[in-house]
């Protein structure tokens, strides 16, 4: 059988179209088959929603959380890369607010204000707020940062192109560009630990239970008890990011 050019193109075009649609259909079927399935047998992603509490009134600023976080998550040791850090607030009599965080609090804090009269003072631990409406996820041009069904905002290291949009977009300064991996890095609530029944490293080492983590869908979880028993505030509520990091003992000067 012989085709002229036109006939050949017609037939070839049909094949390409049919093949393409078949591939799309197949992809969608795959999607339907795996959507909502648990990721591993022990961990049920659907029955979890992670929330995290920070009790400012308990924190003593020992910085063990910062140290443990760096060791657990291979965060570079340099003093400007942190997944969690502790800020020191000192509010003077004249209303002046002093905030600092030498090496993120990793080496503890010296008694810098011993000659000042502080009317208020706090150690404020900070981490990624795992927002319900995360600005970082919205701006990522390649879909390399996302919120999991159990409420944790993560980074896809294979797809991240290191463009730093998310770092700029985060109103909490919770992200940095990893100098060796060249991808955005941030607190993952130790996703590799909490999904295996371990505590995040920072929660594990906190000596005064200033950090609490748990399942918001479980009415008997530590975090639910913490939320029910205390007056809770979140950071920068006016931005509408809806953080899932809940603070107890937050004052208006803390931002």
């Amino acid at each position: 059988m012989k085709y002229n050019r036109k006939e050949f193109l017609k037939i070839a075009g049909k094949f390409v179209l049919i093949g393409g649609f078949a591939k799309i259909l197949k992809a969608n079927k795959l999607f339907a088959a795996v959507a909502g399935k648990p990721v591993n047998k022990e961990y049920d992603i659907k029955s979890n929603l992670w929330g995290y509490g920070i009790d400012i009134s308990k924190c003593i600023g020992c910085g063990r959380c910062v140290d443990a976080c760096k060791k657990e998550n291979n965060v570079p040791k340099e003093p400007f890369f942190f997944r969690t850090w502790v800020e020191r607030y000192g509010i003077l009599e004249n209303g002046e607010v002093k905030v600092d965080s030498p090496n993120g609090g990793l080496n503890g804090f010296t008694d810098k204000y011993k000659d000042e009269k502080l009317v208020k003072k706090y150690f404020v631990p900070k981490i990624c707020n795992h927002c319900e409406h995360p600005p970082c996820v919205q701006v990522c041009p390649v879909g390399a940062t996302y919120t999991t069904p159990d409420g944790v905002t993560l980074v896809d290291r294979k797809y991240c192109i290191g463009c730093r949009y998310c770092i700029q977009a985060c109103p909490y300064g919770a992200r940095y560009l990893h100098p060796k991996l060249h991808v955005a890095d941030k607190c993952s609530l130790c996703y590799h630990r909490i999904t295996k029944g371990l505590l995040p490293a920072c929660v594990e080492v906190c000596p005064v239970k200033a950090r609490i983590v748990g399942n918001l869908k479980d009415p008997n979880s530590e975090i639910k008890k913490f939320l029910n028993a205390n007056d809770i505030q979140v950071l920068k509520p006016h931005l509408g990011t809806k953080p899932k990091i809940y603070y107890k003992g937050m004052d208006k000067e803390i931002f």
Binding site: A27, G108, Y122, T145, Y146, S188, E204
Partner: protein, 151 residues
């Protein structure tokens, strides 16, 4: 006026090119979209599993009990009951799995106790703090305080 086929033939050609374009786009999308995309949401589902699979360093206090029962029990009745073993000893998951091979640090009091117990005007007043210049200066804290049962 009457139109004949040849008057709108060019439109059909245009339509064919347009459809071809759509087809090429859909095929390219299907080819380049990672298989696990959309599994949980608008991202690569495998990334979530990769994040789950990162290696841990900290074992958690429960792990130490099995082999260090005595220290564990002593500490759990002491003023340091709220502290995890790894708060002072550092990450010990690898030690827990292979205690003979993976040694862990016995921290000296010099770099340890001051983190929590040095006097600091920002630290809450109800937390026990000592002035290191006045509280037995020059002596090792561990000479008088057992780190697993300090008082």
């Amino acid at each position: 006026m009457k139109y004949s086929y040849k008057d709108y033939k060019h439109l059909l050609r245009l339509l064919a090119i347009f459809l071809l374009g759509v087809g090429v786009f859909l095929i390219a999308r299907a080819l380049f979209t990672p298989a696990s995309f959309g599994e949980f949401g608008h991202y690569r589902g495998d990334s979530l599993r990769e994040n789950m699979g990162f290696a841990a360093e900290y074992a958690g206090m429960a792990a130490c009990k099995k082999c260090h029962e005595a220290v564990y029990t002593k500490k759990s009745k002491s003023k340091h009951k709220g502290l995890s073993c790894e708060t002072c000893h550092g990450p010990a998951l690898r030690h827990s799995l292979e205690p003979k091979k993976e040694k862990i640090v016995k921290p000296g009091s010099k770099d340890l106790c001051h983190l929590c117990h040095s006097i600091n005007s920002v630290r809450r007043k109800d937390f026990p703090q000592v002035d290191f210049k006045k509280h037995n200066p020059g002596e090792d804290c561990l000479a008088c305080h057992d780190s697993h049962d300090p008082l």
